[in-house]
Point group: C2
Chain length 302, copies 2
Amino acid sequence: MKFELTILGSSSATPIYNRNPTAQLLNINEKHYLIDCGEATQMQLLRLRIKASKIDQIFISHLHGDHYFGLIGLISSYHLNGRNKELTIYGPQGLREILDIQLKYSQTQLRYELKVVEINPKVSEQIFENEDIVVRTIILNHRIPCTGFLFEQKLRKRRIIKEKIQDMDLSPADKMRLKSGEDVEYQGQVLKNQDYTLDPIEPKKYAYCSDTLYDTSYFELIREADVLYHEATFTHDYLERAVETYHTTAQQAGEIASLCKVKKLIIGHFSARYLDLTKHLNEARTQFPNTFLAIDGESYVI
Amino acid sequence: MKFELTILGSSSATPIYNRNPTAQLLNINEKHYLIDCGEATQMQLLRLRIKASKIDQIFISHLHGDHYFGLIGLISSYHLNGRNKELTIYGPQGLREILDIQLKYSQTQLRYELKVVEINPKVSEQIFENEDIVVRTIILNHRIPCTGFLFEQKLRKRRIIKEKIQDMDLSPADKMRLKSGEDVEYQGQVLKNQDYTLDPIEPKKYAYCSDTLYDTSYFELIREADVLYHEATFTHDYLERAVETYHTTAQQAGEIASLCKVKKLIIGHFSARYLDLTKHLNEARTQFPNTFLAIDGESYVI
């Protein structure tokens, strides 16, 4: 099952050096989820030839513009391009009001249903579930209410060992039973489940943390994530500035990855003061070697 | 005196084929004026290495998103980049409310003064004046209140014929008198103004018309403009669609340019249905040969 992250924007605050403000696309089993939607996210999707129409859920972490100013444009383009399927946006209190007032003044009656689900900024909650995944909020510590998102795959079915059944004529129903962990009767004999199947593939976890002060309160939730995206707005020499603005340094992001025993760290949300990001990368890697930079347009397998 | 137009976006409705939604920059005597501000206008300015900070006045024609969704991002970036000089936006009723609600939820207290001047959508009025120009609204006919803008240079001073005074030792005050049209006494003789000066350079006019139904009511105002930018969303085979959506065809734009005896026509605001714009150009040129396409990133001397 595909589980792939594409970075649409890696900049904090203002766009610069070909880095767009924050937005990410998750492709999980060919379903597309958008996380944050900075200005010009729809242009990034166009540029990368990703069909925006495939997105049915959007998750907005907070109402600083670099995380959502592209949303109204995307919503409008859906309307103008004839979308008719429902779109659900999970976001902070206030988002609905912001979108509605812009639709009101343009006298736009959307052709599709737009649901905006208000996130509770105080308590981590499950906010979305389908056959593939569950999404939970991560309570972050920022200047305004802000949540990250934890995308967890569901436990899948057991895997039949094909070689062992290739000469049998098992019915689809029997195969389904095996996948579900049951034993199966076949030509008078019992096929013991543990002899014919393997454990399901371990479900994967992707944790998205932006923007936040270094704060241990959310560490438990992101523990052992396969991939942790964590903001690393500043290098550690700007720790004071990071604290002042409720942001994290690259060194701290590395520390968090290490403490939480994640498998891979991607850092992003880089301040406009940095043209070169080598220092961010090196700094995080001193704490957690398996660190990578979020680069606009790049994809990462989870 | 410089009078130059740079196209930052030439697309209607949705961004496509590297065409951004509508935005234009006017450089008049090294003062920068922004006309409309579709999504990602600040990225276009970055890409073209135009300092956004030079802009002190922004003119917004109407509240369809393709003409203003980039405004809140630009305003925020100004704040984050430490702007402290006043910014004035001329735009429709509702714009202030839209901006304020977004600033409210991001808890942003702008570091500079943001003035939003509400445009009367019913009556053409002078809305701006400085030492170089006067700006007047053009009442257009669109689905929602919409005004174009007429930028008129002021009449400049007379031009001294340098060759005639090069051997004289005229004081700066006397030169100023000549430029102002007065005669001047020099070593007992009277220098007749008409012998020593030429008429001022003819003031230039730039008319911006987007978006609108073909409507003769605004023709008088744009008459004899040096450059007319007119929307030409559709080719003439889509006339019905143009009328339905309150837009103009390329042929009509050409007709308007011809009827209004402008010197040069630039057409833009192209529908996403057109990849190739040759037909637009040819169609407008059958009516008005001196027509050019608005191309993102291109500049046009007025």
